[in-house]
């Protein structure tokens, strides 16, 4: 016998209510008026008698009905055949074996396997055991079984992985595994190095009360570890060539003594440098390699440290796109003097990853070839011919970006604005009020998101003259001047986007270029307008690599040499789970030549920290549930479950019958007469009173 909702059993405390009512029955009942207590007060009436329960049959009836109601709500169920099987098996043991990257420590993994095998050996003849391998996720290697041979074979084939640690996922899986053995004592044994980083998320996890959790620590006694925490790669251009400067961060933890390790750099598989690193007991050192010539195409590199007892984090991979540059075509008329576009040109080329390469083109020279390699076209206050407009339109529609600056030329000449995002109707002179400013900024837009915390950096700029523009349908106003006129607009065109600036970017009619916000604004304008996203140097194992939708028939090679053909499952394109350390490469069609994309994958940095947590801390925050929940009733068909759980209907029916009986009993005999006793109300003719 067990209960689905044992919390309702607390309702049995309500039995005190009828008892208290019976004890205090007279005090709470309707008093009967009596002419005088003159004689009664002379009689010895013991108080104890007054508080004695006088109507035991009625009390018993009421208490029994209440108890049955409580039991019905607690949903009792019979332990069925499946549960009886569980009862015959004395215990259910779930072995949670940590296979995170840190378990690859030379001393740890063998000890973990030994512990697991010992647990399997010590199982009783009727015990059942399951094996769950976990890192950040958990995988049921073997559900509950009595077959020791299978368990041993699975342990022999298990290896540490490349991912981080997350205990909560393992315990959740263990809980679900134990649903196959309801109502039997269960034990969850976590064999782990107890990394502190894996404890997150345990708070709030509920385990059944019958389950005990035991942690078997296999943490290494020598926790000294040297790891690579990250790299920084820069292209350094000198007079002759572009070189690659690589810098690595080497982390030392819990070393016995300071030591020196060698760090070797490999670029595209070739040794490209070696540096000794003096490491403290605990701390970080930067190691810089001599710049090496930048190979053509995409670069695959790695840094290798002298191996220690945890070898997995001694190698660090990185991947670099061939050339991370963003070509920008600046289309400006000849009469746009250099000093008019000076601030913008200089601001564009500042910054790297990507570096912006500006090519200035005069009107009439814009054609498809001029924009073939461009990421963005900057149209500086100049009208375009029909052919130029067609070329620019095709460029944007294909995914390029365009920034159209509308200044005095377009405004005063009444020329049509390129790409037609707005129509211009003269200029607004703000000399009288010493210039206007931005009045409304959409800081939720990616273009201005960087200014969300400090919009004053932009609203401080003054504009003396700007074009009066009327947005056309389909354009989105991102910013307005303080007089309500549009200042910045965005319009989608095919796969690309057009940003129209009414705010002057020169110093003759405004001071925006002199504001500190000018540089980040222009940088964001270029990156957002072109849709450029910087490729990371590396990702951590366990993450997902999202492939761009533009790639067709993608074939991905994994670090171990396997080929994957990820299928696009949604509009965002295909995604590849990164499970191995090393370089993943994506090709279009066939695996040959230079890959279209590469990504480097390294071990999670948290796995390099071998500091263990106290085994007891592992369960801090884990709640003990009263029951396994609805599944606690055990497996079986719906009909069987219903049969085992259907007692509540009988209990409820019986409670109703008892309540009916109580109603009849309470309204028969002297109880009924007592119930009809009423208090007389004085009246001239007297009031009929109750007949005792």
């Amino acid at each position: 016998m067990n209960f689905l909702v044992p919390a309702f059993l607390a309702g049995l405390a309500a039995l005190a209510i009828p008892i208290a009512m019976h004890l205090r029955h007279r005090e709470k009942g309707q008093p009967v008026r009596f002419p005088s207590l003159m004689f009664l007060e002379q009689l010895a009436i013991r108080t104890s008698k007054r508080q004695r329960i006088t109507d035991w049959p009625l009390l018993a009836l009421r208490a029994l009905a209440l108890a049955l109601l409580v039991l019905a709500f607690a949903r009792p169920f019979a332990v069925g055949n499946a549960a009886q099987q569980g009862a015959e098996a004395e215990r259910a043991v779930v072995v949670l074996l940590d296979r995170s990257l840190s378990m690859g420590h030379a001393d740890v993994w063998p000890a973990a396997l030994d512990s697991a095998r010992r647990i399997v050996r010590e199982l009783g003849p009727n015990d059942r055991a399951a094996l769950v391998l976990f890192d950040e996720d958990a995988e049921v290697a073997q559900p509950l079984t009595t077959d020791r041979t299978t368990l041993d074979a699975l342990l022999a084939g298990a290896t540490p992985g490349t991912r981080g640690t997350r205990y909560v996922s393992a315990l959740r899986v263990a809980r679900s595994v134990l649903l196959d053995a309801p109502s039997v004592p269960a034990e969850v044994v976590v064999i782990t190095d107890l990394q502190r980083s894996g404890v997150a998320g345990l708070v709030g996890l509920e385990l059944p009360a019958r389950v005990t959790v035991r942690a078997v620590s296999v943490a290494a006694t020598d926790r000294g570890n040297v790891s690579l925490a990250g790299v920084d790669v820069r292209r350094v251009a000198d007079a002759e060539r572009t070189r690659l400067a690589v810098q690595a961060r080497v982390m030392a933890r819990d070393l016995d003594a300071p030591r020196t390790v060698n760090a070797r750099l490999e670029i595209d598989g070739r040794a490209s440098g070696e540096q000794p690193v003096q490491l403290p007991v605990d701390g970080e050192r930067l190691v810089s390699f001599e710049p090496v010539p930048l190979p053509a195409g995409r670069v695959r590199g790695r840094i290798v440290l002298d191996s220690d007892r945890l070898a997995a984090d001694d190698t660090f991979h990185f991947a670099l796109a061939g050339e991370d540059a963003l070509p920008v075509v600046l289309l400006a008329s000849d009469d746009a003097q250099r000093n008019e576009t000076l601030f913008t040109e200089r601001a564009l080329v500042i910054g790297r990853a990507p570096t912006v390469r500006v090519t200035r083109t005069r009107p009439g020279a814009l054609d498809a070839s001029a924009v073939r390699d461009a990421g963005l076209v900057f149209v500086w206050d100049t009208p375009l011919s029909a052919s130029e407009t067609g070329a620019l339109d095709a460029f944007v529609t294909a995914g390029g970006g365009a920034v159209v600056v509308v200044g005095r030329r377009l405004a005063e000449q009444g020329a049509s604005v390129p790409l037609g995002v707005v129509t211009v109707d003269g200029t607004a002179d703000r000399f009288a009020d010493r210039g206007g400013s931005f009045g409304e900024l959409r800081t939720d837009h990616p273009l201005f998101a960087a200014f969300r915390e400090s919009p004053g950096a932009l609203t401080g700029a003054r504009f003396l003259r700007y074009a009066r523009a009327v947005p056309t349908a389909g354009s989105d106003v991102l910013a307005r001047f303080d007089d309500g006129l549009p200042a910045v607009l965005e319009s989608r065109r095919g796969a690309g986007r057009v940003i129209t600036l009414l705010a002057p970017l020169d110093t003759r009619t405004g001071d925006l270029p002199l504001q500190p916000a000018f540089l980040p604004l222009l940088r964001r304008l270029v990156l957002y307008g072109s849709g450029h996203e910087a490729a990371p140097l590396w990702q951590e194992s366990g993450q997902t690599w999202a492939l761009p939708r533009a790639l067709r028939e993608v074939v991905v090679t994994t670090p171990s040499g396997d080929l994957l053909r990820p299928a696009a499952t949604d509009s965002l394109g295909a995604a590849v789970p990164l499970t191995e350390r090393g370089i993943y490469a994506a090709y279009q069609g066939v695996v040959s030549g230079d890959p279209s994309l590469t990504v480097a994958v390294n071990a999670p940095a948290t796995e390099s920290d071998l500091t263990p947590v106290d085994a007891r801390e592992l369960l801090v925050g884990v709640a003990i549930a009263e029951t396994d929940g609805t599944a606690a009733a055990g497996p079986g068909t719906e009909v069987e479950r219903e049969k085992r759980q259907g007692w509540w209907r009988w209990l409820l029916g019986l409670a109703v019958l008892l309540l009916l009986a109580e109603t009849l009993l309470a309204n028969r005999g002297w109880r009924a007469r007592a119930a009809r006793l009423t208090v007389a109300t004085g009246s001239p003719t007297g009031t009929e009173k109750a007949l005792p």
Binding site: H25, R26, F34, R671, R673, G682
Partner: protein, 299 residues
């Protein structure tokens, strides 16, 4: 079906009659029909007035000459017949408002007072009324013309408040200036000795006193069966109790109180008449007429 005359004295039947005058007439007529001879024996040479003949009147006192003129029976009233003042002192405390059957003690008492007043008036007495609650309430001095006023007062007086029976009886003694008959109707919830002392003050004024004590059967027997909480009708005090366990002791205490009242009021030379409110009124009327006959034989 014709009802026996005494049937009109049944309290349950009387409770259906809202008009006290009609009730009193019904009671007295019914009662007198069963009395073959008028208890009134007094006579005088000082003619006062005529009044209508009532059954029981001495036929010798019928004015035959007036009968010859009017064809109706009248008897002669003499001054000596009307100079007995009868005070009805009615206890109106809340304890009187109790019953376990048809009529409350207070209703029974009102029927009794109304009937006795009607009877007294019919016999030529002057009747007055005093209501006794926490103080003297209505005081209607005795007069041959105050019967209607008495009946009206009885009809509109409720039983309420805490009774101060001893004080009010003593005050009645002060109010009454002329010796007569004082009829006390009360449930006598006072110690017998103290009540006797209060009656003594009435007796000291020369009054003949008769105490009617209406008793409800439930009050006497403590007939409640279920455990319950009872509340004092006057003080509001509550007492939880199990009547089964206390009934015998309570009966003994109540009987002892009655015995004490009987003894103490006898000592005060007052008549004490306990009345069961479930019984007809005739016993009370007999007792009253007996008293009148014994104490005022010439009137």
């Amino acid at each position: 079906m014709a009802l026996a005359p005494t049937a009109f004295l049944d309290p349950a039947l009387l409770a259906r009659i809202s008009d006290l005058e009609l009730l009193a007439r019904t009671v007295v007529d019914g009662f007198m029909a069963g009395v073959h001879r008028s208890a009134r024996k007094g006579s005088s040479l000082d003619f006062a007035e005529h009044r209508a003949y009532q059954p029981g009147d001495d036929l010798r006192r019928v004015d035959w000459r007036l009968f010859a003129r009017t064809d109706r029976y009248y008897v002669k009233q003499y001054e000596a017949d009307t100079n007995v003042s009868v005070w009805f002192a009615l206890d109106t405390s809340a304890s009187m408002d109790f019953t376990t059957h048809a009529v409350t003690k207070f209703d029974y008492a009102r029927f009794l007072v109304a009937s006795l007043a009607w009877l007294s008036k019919g016999q030529g007495d002057r009747v007055g009324l005093v209501t006794m609650g926490d103080d003297l309430g209505e005081v209607i001095p005795p007069s041959a013309r105050h019967l209607q006023r008495i009946l009206h007062t009885l009809a509109r007086t409720p039983a309420s408040g805490r009774g101060q029976l001893l004080n009010t009886i003593e005050r009645v003694a002060h109010v009454t200036t002329r010796a007569g008959v004082v009829v006390v109707v009360s449930d006598c919830y006072e110690p017998a000795d103290r009540l006797g002392r209060a009656i003594d003050t009435l007796r000291a004024r020369g009054h003949d006193v008769i105490v009617f004590h209406p008793i409800d059967p439930g009050e006497r027997e403590l007939t409640f069966a279920a455990p319950l909480t009872i509340e004092d009708a006057e003080s509001g005090l509550r007492l939880p109790l199990r009547p089964d366990e206390l009934r015998a002791q309570y009966r003994d205490a109540f009987a002892a109180h009655r015995a004490a009242l009987t003894a103490r009021l006898a000592a005060a030379r007052a008549d004490y008449v306990p009345l069961d409110t479930a019984e007809p009124l005739d016993r009370a009327l007999h007792a009253y007429l007996d008293l009148r006959a014994m104490r005022h034989p010439g009137r």
